[in-house]
Subunit: 443 residues, 2 copies
């Protein structure tokens, strides 16, 4: 049963400009002065000459500008946006106690939530990401406020009320499994009347240390009843992993603690953030069950988690996208996550794993576009919702138009070189237009 | 003998706003709604109430904005700015052959140099850095063009014609030591008539592999004759170090290869970029001779050099600032270098050196302001040129006014929290005004 009625905007138009997107995990395809067709909110492909079939579509001329797929942020904490760049001086578990939990507790106050989430969503709207998997807090009213704001923005997102009934401070803990499950049902019921077009609920147990076995069992029931996708955290930090081992003596490894409740891929579309310290057995299970990894290189660096083995994720064929993990990460832009993924992978090769080749630019760009955007086609969302991140025919039409004039060089740059410069050097100012599901957010 | 006549602008005024700067390597001092006095181009200090002595000075009211010292970039390659973010797919020595050398060879053409350096200097003018140590190329006319543009910009810089007479491609190599030395004298002679106020020559042997012993001997003579400071590269990459060992069998370590020619601190004010793999003996010699380190964390990551032991630099008391090392680094802003320095130091502790505590925010901010800015007081520059990077009385008046309104949080931020946000999140747009040596570049 799924109760949210979802309509995709039907829009037909053509954008003209210099177009680039990932043809595969290792190859970027670029098209100078070409035509990108949007038909009923989906890409109909890129053409050097406009086919007669689309000659009647309105054409928006972005000649000289770059047109790229929208980016997907597979992991971000909405309530933490408020303190990004503050408190970057400790590791995960202390950081949660000292910074994240006290700030999240404030969202009990709906007025605070409205103000803080307003800043957050305004910021996202201006940036290069078009899709998001978002953690809210455990508070039902605040989470609904966030989702209302997201829907209003035109962005596409899955957002989750967080579940946490243990090992958390009094100010930010649900009384027990029943209370947490009841609040989750209350949240889903509140959404039922809203008819969101672009905003979806996602089950969000914070992480194993915060969720009792009873709660996980209850969430498993809710997942089956509503066919919800799920997001959580996995193998981020070594102390956390040791803790999970204590808390779940019957699990073989961290991921197994989710799998025991059937909340780890297969019939439960799942995205797990981090996997910095995942072992082979965990990674193999993820591949076999199609569990997505949200690779969050900046957060892993800021809170001293380490460097995730992204080369292994890709080589093993585990579906992988990028996450900002604000406020473990400071920057929301997935362009930044791409360059961080490349950078830290080089350090991993230098210092920790000589046999793991660094992530290439092509791979990082793929992860930040199609890698993450494909989760929206796999999450079992209602209303024929599909994948984004590519301009191949059939993908949902998320596109950025980049005015890169002030990133010029004293020599001529190819479209692919301009793409590299955009990824490394652009900011919100360079986004001349932004389309999500075939609808212009601005530009 | 030093032939450049240098005058410091004499200007008296007061800025009012929220002020922060490094009181020491480990402590930032902040002042809400206070007064920063500029007297004859130097700071006269920060005051909660304006002392009567300065009551007659014109006051510029930046209430609600942040006022910070200007930043110093101790290491940047002007000709590489053109290809920043391109060719980030190899290590140092291959990267030099494939990307850096072919681009630098183009600066033989003065017209190309004028165009490319124009883009470079315009960009620097808008950013948060006020001082620079800059590598040009081996070409005398292009280097003079660069220095003319720098002088015109109002920024303060030391810039050097590069020396290289071996192990470089034909298109970018001087014929021999005599030719390189003669070109250096020609360059210094060309500057003699120019009466720069803010632009200084600095001797720039590229690195040991590019400079024959004869050339180093000749440069040592030129250094003594003109009392010039010196910049070069040191212990960036392990292959490079092995190569230096082959090229200079009589040197005990890489730094010793400079020291043998008296081009390594003591009577030769020196800044060396990188020191990623410097051993104890090398670091001790640097401390004893006051050799500055330009720590370039982003470049070290991009071209897979590793993570420099910045904790040891600071704990040993080696003078240390930050460098962008464009185009090994992609970003010119030293704000970015600060956050990169913090980030990679955490990974170094995780993966390579558990006993080396990460670089703190306070230390990174110090390195990017006073750490590097102090080199301008130590370099033996003419015209009573002094250090920058602090608002303590007597420092040259380099200041940034930051409009951080759009970095606001849903709660009140302290001045120090706003500083953190500025460092992590601001870009050129946030710089409302920029002062160098007491003169407004804009704002």
């Amino acid at each position: 049963m799924y109760f949210i009625v979802t309509k995709v905007d039907s829009r037909n138009f053509v954008l003209k400009g210099d177009i680039a997107y990932s043809k595969s995990q290792t190859k970027i395809q670029s098209f100078e002065n070409s035509y990108l067709v949007c038909e009923k909110g989906k890409s109909a492909g890129v053409f050097p000459r406009l086919p007669a079939a689309f000659a009647g579509f309105p054409l928006i001329d972005y000649t000289g500008r770059l047109i790229l797929p929208g980016l997907t942020d597979l992991h971000i904490h909405a309530p933490q946006f408020s303190f990004r760049s503050l408190g970057m001086d400790m590791e995960l578990l202390s950081w949660l106690e000292k910074h994240a939990f006290p700030e999240e507790a404030k969202y009990r106050d709906a007025e605070y939530a409205r103000r803080a989430y307003g800043l957050f969503v305004d910021h996202l709207k201006r940036g290069p990401n078009t899709r998001f998997c978002i953690f809210a807090t455990l508070h039902v009213p605040a989470t609904v406020i966030l989702m209302d704001l997201l829907e209003e923005s035109g962005l596409v997102s899955m957002a989750g009320k967080v579940n946490m009934d243990r090992n958390s401070p009094d100010i930010l803990r649900e009384a027990n499994a029943d209370a947490s499950a009841a609040a989750t049902r209350e949240w889903l019921t509140a959404l039922a009347g809203r008819n969101y077009k672009n905003t979806y609920p996602i089950l969000t147990p914070r992480f194993i240390p915060s969720c009792s076995d009873d709660l996980m069992r209850a969430l498993s029931g809710i997942q089956k009843q509503y066919a919800l996708p799920l997001q959580s955290h996995l193998s981020e930090n070594q102390r956390e992993i040791a803790w999970v081992r204590e808390l779940c003596p019957s699990s073989n490894f961290y991921g197994d603690a989710y799998a025991q409740f059937d909340l780890f891929g297969a019939n439960t579309p799942t995205v797990m953030a981090h996997c910095v310290w995942s072992g082979n057995e965990e990674l193999r299970l993820m591949r076999n069950r199609g569990v997505y990894i949200a690779h969050c290189p900046q957060s892993n660096l800021n809170i001293s988690s380490g460097i995730a083995p992204a080369r292994r994720f890709l080589d093993m064929g585990i579906p992988t996208g990028l996450g900002s993990d604000v406020a473990g990460g400071v920057h929301t832009s997935i362009f930044r996550a791409m360059t961080d993924a490349i950078g830290v992978s080089k350090l991993r090769q230098c210092l920790a794993a000589k046999d793991e080749a660094p992530i290439t630019f092509e791979e990082a760009f793929w992860m930040g576009t199609l890698g993450g955007g494909s989760f929206f086609g796999k999450a079992g969302l209602p209303g024929n919702a599909g994948a984004a991140g590519s301009f191949d025919p059939g993908y949902e039409f998320d596109a950025l138009v980049i005015d890169d004039a002030d990133l010029a060089a004293p020599f001529r740059l190819s479209v692919e070189e301009r793409l590299r410069r955009t990824v490394y050097l652009s900011d919100d100012r360079h986004i001349a237009a932004k389309y999500v599901r075939g609808k212009a957010l601005f530009g």
